[in-house]
Each structure stands twice: as C-alpha cells, then as structure tokens.
C-alpha cells in the first residue's frame, strides 16, 4: 500500500502526515489532525457539511484528496473566529437567528457563507439563496439561516465602512 507525505497549513498551524492517496482532505482533517469540526454527511459531494476553505476558496473536503491540498492554506470552522473569546460574525448571526438546530450541517454553512460574503459583500436575497444552495439542512427550514446571512452581511459591511468613514462610499 503506497503512502504519501503531506504538509499543509491549517488555521495558521502547519500539519504534516503520511497518508494513503485515497485519504480525503475531510478525513485528514478529522482523523489525522483531530479537527472534528468539519463534518461528513454524504461523503460524495451533495450535502456540503464538509465545506472548508482551501487557499481562500470554499470546497467540499470530501471531494479532494489530502495529497492534493499539499502546500495549501486550509481554514476549517475551528479557525474562523481567530480567538477563543469571540465568534466570527457569521457564527454570531447563526446563533442569534436560530440558524441551527442540531448543528450537524452548521460548520459547512458557516464556512460557505463566509466565502460567499467575501465575494458578495452586499448580496441580494436571490444571491443569498443561490449562495446557500450547495448546503443541506434537515432541521431549520432555512429561514433562520437566510436571516443569519443577511444580518452577517450588514454587520460586516458596517465594520468595513466604520473605520473608513471619511472615504466616499462606492455604489
């Protein structure tokens, strides 16, 4: 059985391992790095629970082999907030709006929404729905999640404009 050595930076920390090539990035994160915040639902790319950021882009970590992420920067739900005293604005918004019930899908949603808002800082309601369409939630009925994205978008926009109040706003 062949194995490969992989090294990647996960949430700012370098992780190395020797794995079978068939080891998915999701399994590497969970089993080799102990980062069990990334959840595995369907394991074939449908549910979105395993979404992580690889070099800043949201991907299904079940549809990528760990060896393919060799040398990459990976961000998982554990690394979003930055420090242990605060939640990321997206996490904060999910908590406030009941954007989760059982919580299984939540890490994937939070990662996906973070990437979505980075690309669409002022999203329309239709764009939000489209942006959420790659993640499945069996509990909430999605209404709280939609509200969470709206609230997070507005707050993140505020915090961006606040320090630069002297600048003219772009439309």
């Amino acid at each position: 059985m062949s194995t490969v050595a992989v090294t990647m930076t996960i949430n700012g920390v370098s992780h190395s391992g020797v794995v079978e090539p068939r080891r998915t990035l999701a399994d590497f994160l969970r089993a080799d790095c102990g980062l069990t915040g990334t959840h595995l639902g369907c394991e074939h790319g449908v549910c979105g629970a395993c979404s992580v950021l690889v070099d800043g882009e949201a991907v299904r970590s079940c549809l990528m082999f760990a060896v393919q992420a060799d040398g990459s920067e990976v961000t998982t739900v554990e690394g979003l907030a930055g420090d242990s005293d605060h939640l990321h604005p997206v996490q904060e918004a999910f908590r406030e709006t009941h954007g989760l019930q059982c919580g299984f899908c939540t890490p994937g949603f939070v990662i996906s929404v973070t990437a979505f808002l980075a690309e669409h800082p002022n999203p329309s309601d239709d764009q939000i729905r489209e942006g959420l369409s790659g993640n499945l939630c069996r509990c909430t009925g999605y209404q709280g999640i939609l509200r969470a994205v709206r609230i997070a978008a507005d707050r993140m926009a505020e915090s961006r404009t606040a320090p630069a109040a002297g600048n003219s706003a772009s439309v």
Binding site: S2, V4, P21, L63, A115, G131
Partner: protein, 296 residues
C-alpha cells in the same frame, strides 16, 4: 464511502501526464477537478489502480483569448470562467453555462475540461461545446490531435478520448459583434443536473435579422444534440418576427427528431415538452442579450 486504494501521480505538465498514461495504460485515470470522478470512486462505481493528477500541470490552467478563438486549458475551473471579464465580453455563453453547474463550492474545483471529458449528457458544457463548434485537443505520448465537438461525444460518458490520451485544451471560435447567448434548463433543485435544457446563440446582422444561430439540447439523449433545422429556421428572421407563438413553434420543431429517455424524474413526453420550452426561452433570451439596447 471511501475510494478503493490507488497510486497517486502528480503530473508537472501535460507531456508528463501523457507519458504516465502511456506507461500505466487502462489502469490509470486522469484526475482534474474531481467533482464527478471522486464521487464515482467513493461510491465504488469505478476504481483505478492509478490516478494522474493534472491540477499542478503548469501548462493546462490558462484562459487565452485571441481575436479568433478562446482557449481553455484542461484545468481551468468553472469559477475561473464565471469570474473572467474577458470571457464575458467575448463569448458570454461560457460564463453563463458555468453559473448553472452545481454550486459555487463545486465550481471552485470543477473544471470545464473535466465536464467535457466526463460527457454527462445532462451537463451544460458538452452542449455548449457542440453548439459553439468547439475543438477538443487531445494529447498522447505519440502525438496530438484535435477532434470537433460534433464528433467527440459518442454516448453517455463515452467520448473520442482514447485510453492513452488526455484532453489538454478546448478551443471555441469567437462570435462577432451583436451576438447573444443563453442557457435555459429545468432541474428539480438548484444545482442539479438538468431534466432537459437548451443552449442558444444568435448573431444579428446590420439589418437586425439573425445571421447566425446555434442551438443544442442537453438531457434529451445519450449525447448533446445540435438542432440544425431550428437553426436554419431562425436565419433571416427579424427580432420583431420572434413572437411567443413563433418561438413556441421553433421549440416544437427543435424537438421533432429527439427521443428523450424516461426516468423517475420525467417521462419521455414531458422531457420533450420541457426541451421545446427551453429552446423557446433560450432563443428569446439570446436575441435579447444580443441586441445593443439590451446591454444598456
């Protein structure tokens, strides 16, 4: 839900991938974005002893726009196509089609070349390639060749790619001024493969009549279907002549020769009806987007 064991080979460029294919033969498969291949491996619907990863092949990731054609390397991601302003300006069907593929997390990995090579008959890109007369460049250790999209798709998941070959580049001819494009599809859920869909391109002459047309259907057979009769019916038509009833008639004409499959999602009859409606919508939207006033 774990793939069977395989050996992993990282190709530094296309030539290295071709020589690996020559060496490993039928036991090897090329891995691009992996958004179709990895689920098939995970579900054990297929297995290979060797995977040849193209993702770090330096010469396969480029988008090149010239005055006559657009060249997409095999590992250009669907997201790259969505974000490319050069493509939006020259051949907007490419970004329009990309937006219909899966979800953004899928598009961040999935490649246009992989979608064409995978040849799912319900996917957007094979139909786009056929409608736009794309050329598919293939490379093996013994040389390269180019296959027109019309000869490339042989059946469901079956293409003209030989086991020792890999897809390196897709080349799309550029259309002229006043051309417009559209993709229309019906799917059960956002991001699903289409039950049936259509892509359309039109170009308007200086007399405001359609001088060029391309229509292809997807999801209605084992390969994408180019509809020459409907295209011919559009040539010479003025925009004002394309009434709702004329477009509906065009849709009916377009599906006359197709024999769609029936499955749990749709009967053959319903699929044919959907395809006709999608043709009418796609042509209408293509004409609207090709007229200058629509761009303001």
């Amino acid at each position: 839900m774990k793939p069977a064991p395989f050996s992993y080979h990282r190709a530094g460029d296309a030539a290295e991938a071709a020589s690996l294919l020559a060496e490993l033969g039928d036991d090897a498969k090329v891995l691009a974005g992996g958004q179709s291949l990895i689920p098939l491996l995970a579900l054990r619907l297929t297995r290979f002893d060797h995977l040849i990863d193209l993702n770090r092949a330096a010469d396969l990731s480029g988008i090149e726009v010239t005055s006559s054609e657009i060249r997409l390397g095999a590992t250009v991601r669907q997201t790259d196509v969505v974000r490319s302003s050069a493509l939006a300006d020259t051949l907007s069907l490419l970004p329009l089609a990309s937006q219909q593929v899966g979800h953004f997390q899928i598009r961040n990995r999935g490649t246009v070349g992989g979608s064409v090579a995978h040849a799912d008959p319900a996917a957007e890109y094979p139909a786009v390639a056929v409608a736009l007369d794309a050329a598919v460049d293939l490379l093996s250790a013994s040389g390269s060749r180019s296959v027109s999209a019309s000869d490339f798709f042989l059946s469901t998941f079956v293409t003209a790619i030989e086991p020792e070959e890999l897809l390196t580049t897709l080349r799309f001819p550029v259309w002229g001024e006043r051309s417009g494009f559209a993709v229309e599809e019906a799917a059960r859920r956002s991001g699903d493969f289409a039950i049936a869909g259509a892509v359309a391109g039109v170009q308007l002459g200086s007399d405001d009549r359609i001088s060029r047309a391309a229509i292809a259907l997807f999801g209605v057979g084992s390969t994408p279907v180019r509809i020459a009769a409907a295209e011919a019916g559009l040539i010479g038509q003025a925009r004002s002549e394309l009434t709702e009833s004329a477009l509906a008639e065009l849709g009916r004409l377009a599906v006359e020769g197709v024999d769609p499959p029936a499955d749990v999602h749709a009967s053959a009859r319903y699929r044919r009806h959907l395809a006709a409606v999608m043709v009418a919508r796609a042509v209408r939207h293509a004409v609207e987007s090709g007229t200058p006033e629509a761009r303001r």
